[in-house]
Symmetry: C2
Subunit: 430 residues, 2 copies
C-alpha cells in the first residue's frame, strides 16, 4: 500500500476554534476502500508552510491530500504552495473561467478579477469540478516522483465531501489500484457492555485470525464490524457464520445487521428506525411520557423524517403536577411511592394509552442528577415502563455516570425494552 | 513564542474509527494562555513512528506534546520512542510503583508485572501524577536542546484533561514564560446572522487594530470573543467600550456577556440558562408544546440540572389528534387553517397555559421536511407562539436548510422570543 498523507490547512483548528471534520471522514472512506492513512497533519496557513509540509512528505509512490486554502483571497496559499513543492506550474484554464463567470451571472452577480485564481490548474495533472462552490479540486503530478500525486481539495465540508466521494476517491482508487474493499458485516448492539461482547466473540474469532474486528461505541450502543478480504476462501460464508454465531449469543441485543459484500451495501438502520419500522409494519402507534429524559426519546424518534406515521406525541412530565394532571398518576402513588417509582412509571404509561390513544406507550422516571439523589433513591435510579393495553412491564435500573450518561442510558433502555417486546410478539406470532 | 507541536499517537484516528477529541481542547486552552500550536500530527502506533516524528520536530526552544501510547501493553511504545528520540533514558521510580500497587490493593486486585512500565519515568525531567488512571504524564528533557521538552500525556480524555489543566499547562506556562492571558470579553448572540455581526462590528473595530476578534458558530448562535493584551494601555476600558457599542447595536440578540479580565473569569451562561434564570428570579414557570421540534426545546432545557424549578413539562404534539385532545386546538382551526398555522401555534400555547398551569408557554408548529412541504406551506415554514395569560404573540418564520437546521433554528427562535419578552417586561418594569 502506498503512503497516504492528509494535510489540513488553516489556522482555525490549531487555534482551537473549530473541531476538525475532515480526518474521520476521509480516513473512514479510505479504510472502506482498503487504503490506510499514514499520517494526518494540521498546519497553519502562512506562506511557505504548505510548500514545506508537502516537500517533507513527498516520496516515491506517495499520495498527499490537502484540504483548504483554495479560495480567492490572498490568504489562500495552497495552490502556489503545492506548485512550488512539486515543481508543477499552474496554467489558466479558459473553460473553467467561462463556467465560473456563467455561474455568477446566473445569480445576477459580477465576478471580480481576484477570482481568476479559481481558474488556475496544474500544468501537469488534472482537476475536479466543484459543484457546490468556486474552487476546483486540483491534482498535481510531481517532477521528481512520477508515481506520486498531490490532490488539493476545498475546505468547506459541503464542497469537499461530494467532490471526494464522487470524483477524487474513485479516481485515486483506480490510479493506485487499491484492493477491492473487504467484505464486511455490521452488527449493532443495544445495552450490551463492550467487554461482554468482546468476551463472547473471542472464542469464535480465535479460529479465524484473518477476520478483522472493529467497534465503535456510543453511550448504550456498540457497532461491531467484522471484515475479511473478498478474495479469502469462502469469505462471505465465513463472515456470515461468525455473525450468526454472534447473533445467537446476543439475541436480545443485536438489533440490526447490515452486510456489505459487493457494490451495493445493505442500508444501515439505527434502533429508532428499527423500532418505528416494526410499528409501521403493524400499523401501530407510540407515545412517550418522559420525566428524567426530558424529551430525549421524543427528540431521537423525531430526528427521522416520516416518524409522524407512528410517533404521535409525547409528554414531558417534569413537575409532579404534570404527572398528576396530564398523565393521571394518582396522588396516592405520588405521595406514597414517590415520583421515582415502579408505580409511577406504570401509571404514566396507563395515562398515555388513554389520553394519547396510541397502541404503545413508554414511561420513564428517574433521578438524573447531579442533585436530587437520596440514600433510598440514588442518582442513576430509573424506572422504565413499556406496554400496551394488554400488558405494561416495568423495569428498574441503576445507571452509573453523570447526568448526560443517565439520561442517554435511560432513553436507550426504553427503546430497547420496546424493541424486545415488538420482536418477542413477532416471534410468538401475536 | 516557542514552537509547539502536538503529536496524537494511535491507529484509531487514522483508520477513521473515532473523532479526535484532543486537538481542539489542547489548542483552545493553549490559546487562552497566549500560546499557539504550530502543528498537530496524528501518527500510527508502530515502532519507530514516535521516535521519527519527535526527532523531526525537535529544535531549539521547542515544546512537543504527545498523547496516547503510555499504557501497560506491548502496543504502548510512546515512552521508549521518546526516550530514543531525546536521548534521555528511563528509570524505574520505586515510589510511583508503590503507589500503583497500593491503588490496586485498595480495589482488591493484584498488579501484574507487565504494569511495571507504568513506573518508568525520564532520567532527566519530571512526571505528573495520574489521578484517574495508571500511566503518569512524562516530561523529557533533551540531550541536544537544553531548552526543549517532550511532554507525554495519557490518551483517554478523562485522564488527560485533568492532568493537562491542573499540572501540565501551569507547569509549561511557567517554564516557557508564556505571556499572561489577554483580557477577553465574550458576547453571545442568538438568531443574528454572522455576516450582520461582522458588518456592524467592523466600523467599531477599525479604530482598534490591536483588538483580536474570533467567533464560534453553531446553528442559530454565534459567540464573539474580543481580546486585547492585558498590558495594552487601558486594555479593560477599550474592550468594555467595544463590547458596550456592540451590545447597543444588537440589543435583541446579545443574551450573555462574560468578561475574563484577570484570574477569575465570569461564568459563561447559555441561552437556556439565561431564560431559566430570568424565570427563576420571578418565581415563574414554563411549559412547551412542540410539533416539528419534537422535544428538542424540552431536551435543551432539561440538559441543565435544576431545570425542574421552572420547566414543568412539555407536550410533543406530533399527531393532530394530540394537538386536539391534549392541547385543545379546535377542530375548526385544524381543518380550516391547518396544523401548521398561526392559529394552531396560538391555541397550542393557550392549551398549555390551561392544562400545565404554567406562567409561560411556548408552542411550535412547522414543516421540518424533507417531506410534507407544499407550495403554500413549504419545508422550513414554522409558526412559533410564546406567551402568558396576558398576551400570546405568534411569529412566522421561513427557515432555510435541511431537517436538522429547521428544527434547531425553530428551537432557537422559540427561546429567543421568550427571552426578549422576559427582558422587555423587566425593562418596562412589569
Amino acid at each position: 500500500m502506498n503512503p497516504i498523507h492528509l494535510v489540513i490547512i488553516g489556522d482555525e483548528l490549531l487555534a482551537g476554534k473549530r473541531q476538525d471534520k475532515h480526518l474521520q471522514r476521509i480516513a473512514s472512506t479510505l479504510a472502506k476502500r482498503g487504503a490506510d492513512l499514514t499520517t494526518c497533519e494540521s498546519i497553519r496557513d502562512f506562506p511557505g508552510a504548505v510548500t514545506e509540509t508537502v516537500k517533507k512528505n513527498l516520496a516515491p509512490n506517495t499520495l498527499i491530500i490537502t484540504t483548504g486554502g483554495l479560495g480567492p483571497t490572498l490568504d489562500d496559499l495552497t495552490r502556489e504552495g503545492i506548485s512550488a513543492a512539486t515543481g508543477t506550474g499552474l496554467r489558466f484554464d479558459e473553460s473553467l473561467w467561462a463556467n465560473l463567470k456563467q455561474r455568477f451571472e446566473r445569480r445576477g452577480r459580477k465576478i471580480s478579477d481576484s477570482s481568476k485564481s479559481q481558474a488556475l490548474v496544474p500544468e501537469k495533472g488534472s482537476f475536479f469540478q466543484n459543484h457546490f462552490g468556486t474552487a476546483p479540486g486540483l491534482v498535481f503530478e510531481c517532477e521528481d516522483f512520477p508515481n506520486s500525486l498531490v490532490v488539493a481539495l476545498p475546505g468547506p465540508p459541503r464542497e469537499l465531501n461530494p467532490m471526494w466521494d464522487d470524483q477524487a476517491l474513485p479516481f485515486l482508487a483506480q490510479k493506485y489500484q487499491w484492493p477491492a474493499p473487504p467484505n464486511r458485516i455490521l452488527l449493532r448492539f443495544i445495552m450490551a457492555p463492550e467487554a461482554g461482547i468482546d468476551e463472547k466473540m473471542r472464542p469464535v474469532l480465535v479460529n479465524y485470525p484473518d477476520v478483522g474486528l472493529s467497534s465503535l461505541i456510543r453511550i448504550g450502543r456498540v457497532d461491531v464490524t467484522l471484515s475479511l478480504p473478498s478474495d479469502f476462501p469462502n469469505s462471505i460464508g465465513v463472515l456470515r457464520g461468525i455473525a450468526d454465531a454472534t447473533e445467537d449469543k446476543f439475541p436480545k441485543h443485536v438489533f440490526s445487521r447490515a452486510e456489505s459484500m459487493d457494490t451495493e451495501p445493505d442500508p444501515v438502520s439505527d434502533l429508532e428506525e428499527v423500532v418505528m419500522q416494526l410499528l409501521r409494519e403493524r400499523g401501530q402507534t407510540l407515545s412517550c411520557a418522559e420525566s428524567c429524559t426530558g424529551g430525549l426519546i421524543s427528540k431521537w424518534l423525531t430526528d427521522y423524517p416520516g416518524s409522524s406515521d407512528v410517533f404521535w406525541g409525547g409528554l414531558i412530565a417534569y413537575d409532579n403536577s404534570v404527572k398528576a394532571n396530564l398523565l393521571h398518576v394518582s396522588e396516592k402513588t405520588l405521595a406514597e411511592e414517590g415520583a421515582v417509582s415502579e408505580c409511577t412509571a406504570h401509571e404514566m404509561v396507563k395515562g398515555l394509552l388513554t389520553d394519547m390513544s396510541t397502541d404503545w406507550g413508554i414511561g420513564v422516571t428517574g433521578v438524573a442528577g447531579p442533585g436530587g439523589g437520596t440514600q433510598e433513591k440514588p442518582v442513576g435510579l430509573v424506572y422504565i415502563a413499556v406496554g400496551n393495553q394488554k400488558r405494561i412491564e416495568t423495569k428498574r435500573f441503576e445507571f452509573p455516570g453523570n447526568r448526560e450518561f443517565v439520561r442517554e442510558l435511560s432513553a436507550n433502555a426504553a427503546l430497547w425494552i420496546l424493541w424486545r417486546r415488538l420482536i418477542g410478539e413477532k416471534e410468538s406470532g401475536t
